[in-house]
């Protein structure tokens, strides 16, 4: 690699125009933003699909769309949200932007592979969405369980498989890059245990991706044989075995839930200390709990299969293993609380979303542990209780963190602040809408409303309507965000290089950063969380954008 000397890239300090965001750029920051913006577009698409679902479910009969269309919409919604929004954004988006800074590098370990990984995503997404208009989309849900996926129309299902294979490949390439970057590209003198927590989160996540995503790929290849060549791997009519599909699928897809939430753990661990002006509590235990989650995450998959004829000994093992996950997760939860405890908290948008994350995550964790108990799970499996559980974690957890991260890093991306009032409005709408949408679903599930149906018992109407109103609020909540992000890019208050007075290396350079991240040598930060500034010396205006919320403690 030939490297520009500091003098020669003085001139290229600022971004070189918009076109490079549409190019095969090798700059990790460009790629990170490519992931982020592409992901957000898919979030809007997935959100529109959710809107269709909630409109249909506002009444107990199937009146808004046909049942087949409902299945297609449901399948697309799940697939888009998981594989095209959450996974690419918390991994590829923030990972690519931040990890090279955190390890003190100028780029990722394999910049070209990085660009390839990103450019696999738009075609996969377009393929998936266009299948709806061309042949009809897949109808068997994001889990594509056979025999349903074998008996529903083949074209849509095959396109679905192709698309998920592309996305899985992209995810694997990304993960290889993250592992190599964190382990091999650290600047000399920077120890592993001095890395910002997000690095550890991405290391753990990437290990999960490398170990589990290939299994999904292999499984989907076999499934496509069943569909196209009429083999019988997963087709009982031909002597095959559907449960094998479930095992292989969940061997990937349980780790996949951690692939969606571990990076969010990492991001929130970066955001909390800065806005509470305190060191991250329990760094070492945080690291070990991430590693513990990685290990346990690989051996709990059959808790999704308690009603699949799973033998008792297996149920017992998977119940116990799953319940154990509450230990490292609980450690992280208390560490976050302890980080906040006694801090000089700036309740700005980033902090509001982060605190809501903690709240939602703990709630979803508790329903998760409940679901891990076989006697309980056999009653609520495949009901709306499960839908409530995972949306509390995936949306209330990860998506809230993505929003927090947008408010937190936008000044770095653009050099301008997001508007705080709009941010708080966005938070309020999202928070109320989200809880109104998903809290009732627990009750619905406990009372027996099955998931993945377009029609339901009229007794459930009221709560479903409440849920739909919540969804409407969530849809509205994207408007202030969108407006804010676009308006602030041109008119936002100029942020300066380090508006939060943070210590992690991405803030120790200009905003937006120059092409190779720092002019001159990279700063070597041994203590990324050393916020020990006495409280009366903190300039709160600089920290929160306004000191409205932050008096009370000193």
């Amino acid at each position: 690699m030939t490297v520009a000397s500091p003098e020669s890239f003085q001139g290229s300090l600022q971004p070189q125009g918009w076109l490079r965001y549409f190019s095969f750029s090798l700059d990790h920051k460009v790629i990170g933003l490519q992931y982020l913006v592409t992901g957000f577009i898919f979030y809007l698409i997935g959100g529109a699909l959710a809107g269709v679902i909630r409109t249909e479910l506002a009444s107990p009969i199937s009146d808004f769309i046909s049942r087949e269309t409902y299945n297609e919409v449901l399948t697309l919604h799940g697939t888009v949200m998981i594989f095209l929004w959450i996974v690419p954004v918390v991994n590829g988006g923030f990972g690519n932007y931040l990890i090279p800074f955190y390890v003190g590098a100028r780029d990722m370990a394999f910049p070209r592979l990085n660009a390839v990984a990103f450019w696999m995503i738009p075609p996969a997404g377009i393929l998936l969405i266009s299948s709806y208009f061309i042949s009809g989309a897949a109808q068997s849900g994001w889990t594509a369980y056979p025999p349903l996926s074998i008996t529903t129309p083949a074209a849509g299902q095959v396109v679905w498989i192709l698309s998920v294979l592309l996305l899985g490949g992209s995810s694997i390439f990304g993960a290889i890059n993250f592992i190599a970057t964190v382990l091999k590209l650290r600047q000399p003198g920077l120890k592993l245990m001095q890395l910002p927590m997000y690095c550890w989160a991405m290391l753990g996540t990437s290990i999960l991706v490398v170990l589990s995503t290939p299994v999904l790929a292999g499984t989907l290849i076999l499934l496509s044989f069943d569909i196209v060549a009429h083999t019988g791997f997963f087709n009982p009519a031909l002597g095959g075995n559907v449960v094998v599909y479930q095992h292989l699928f969940w061997f990937y897809s349980h780790p996949a839930v951690y692939i969606m939430v571990l990076p969010a753990f990492g991001l929130v661990s970066e955001i909390l200390p800065i806005h509470a002006r305190k060191p991250l509590f329990g760094y070492t235990t945080m690291v070990y709990s991430i590693l513990g989650i990685v290990f346990l995450g690989l051996i709990v998959w059959a808790h999704h299969m308690f009603t699949s004829g799973t033998p008792p000994w297996m149920r017992l093992f998977f119940t116990i293993a799953t319940s154990f996950i509450a230990v490292p997760t609980g450690i992280k939860f208390f560490n976050w609380l302890a980080t906040l405890w006694g801090g000089k908290i700036a309740l700005n948008s980033a902090m509001l979303f982060s605190c809501a994350f903690i709240f939602h995550f703990v709630f979803g964790g508790i329903t998760g542990v409940a679901l891990a108990q076989v006697p309980f799970d056999i009653h609520v499996h495949d009901t709306y209780f499960v839908v409530g559980h995972f949306h509390y974690i995936v949306y209330g957890g990860t998506v809230f963190v993505i929003f927090a991260a947008i408010y937190h890093w936008y000044p770095k991306f653009t050099g301008r602040m997001l508007n705080e009032d709009l941010g708080r409005l966005h938070f309020l709408l999202t928070f109320v809408g989200f809880n109104l949408c998903f809290l009732p679903q627990h009750w619905l599930g406990l009372n027996g409303m099955p998931r993945r149906v377009a029609e339901y018992d009229p007794a459930f109407t009221t709560l479903n309507q409440a849920s739909s109103i919540g969804a409407l609020l969530m849809a509205i909540s994207t408007l202030p965000l969108l407006y804010n992000v676009i308006w602030s890019a041109f008119r936002g208050q100029v942020a300066g290089d380090n508006p939060w007075r943070a210590l992690t290396p991405e803030w120790l350079t200009s905003s937006p950063p120059p092409v190779e991240n720092w002019v001159g040598a990279a700063p070597l930060v041994h203590e990324p969380y050393a916020y020990g500034v006495p409280a009366d010396q903190i300039d709160l205006n600089a920290t929160s954008g306004r000191d409205l919320w932050s008096d009370g403690r000193s």
Partner: protein, 205 residues
């Protein structure tokens, strides 16, 4: 709490002008490390297939009278070919690292030839088998596993030929820049090991 005391290692924007420590620019070569990670991933794909195969065998008995007899002679010969090819590749690699490019190239060709012979043997076996892809669960699994492995061998042979081409006089693979050869070799050994497992599971077990 100690955390409230200003820490001596705090790096603030003001210190941007004098970074704490200068860092050397540029970095080592960790393409092999990346390849290793890729092979772990690839190996997991096979692990998934093997797990599926073993479960099928354990819980899905074939209907009586099913046809699943495998000939052992040809596959055993194939196994020998592949194992030998790992050694020939290694010999070639050692020659290159010792600076003897012309001594390396015949070994590469020989390795590619052994790989191709393996593929030819595989084809002969496919055409002589009494069952097709959709005959029964065993047949499907057999073809899926050996076929997926065969694709790997094909890719490996292509890589070897490319490396062979790159070790010519003006080529980019040299004793001081041996990445292409080392990568192909690692991959080839990997494909070989997978075959041994596969052979054990499909033919011997």
């Amino acid at each position: 709490m100690t955390s409230l005391a200003p820490s001596s290692t705090v790096v603030t924007t003001t210190s941007l002008a004098q970074p704490v420590e200068a860092v050397e620019h540029g970095h080592g070569d960790f393409r092999m490390f990346g390849l290793l990670l890729f092979l772990v991933a690839d190996g997991m794909t096979f692990a998934g297939f093997f797990a599926a195969y073993l479960t099928f065998r354990a819980v899905n008995p074939l209907p009586p009278g099913s046809n699943y007899e495998l000939e052992l002679l040809l596959p055993s010969l194939n196994t020998v070919l592949l194992v030998v090819s790992s050694f020939t590749f290694h010999r070639g690699g050692k020659q290159l690292l010792a600076g003897n490019r012309s001594g390396c190239r015949p070994w590469l060709l020989l390795t590619a030839a052994l790989g191709s012979a393996f593929l030819a043997g595989q084809m002969v076996e496919y055409f002589s088998l009494p069952f097709g892809l959709t005959e029964n669960l065993f047949a499907s699994t057999f073809y899926a596993l050996t076929g997926f492995h065969g694709l790997h061998v094909t890719l490996g042979v292509i890589c070897i030929l490319v490396v062979w081409f790159q070790t010519r006089d003006q080529g980019r693979v040299t004793a001081s820049e041996p990445f292409g050869l080392e990568a192909a070799e690692l991959y080839w050994h990997f494909v070989d090991v997978i075959w041994l497992v596969l052979f054990g599971l499909l033919y011997v077990l």
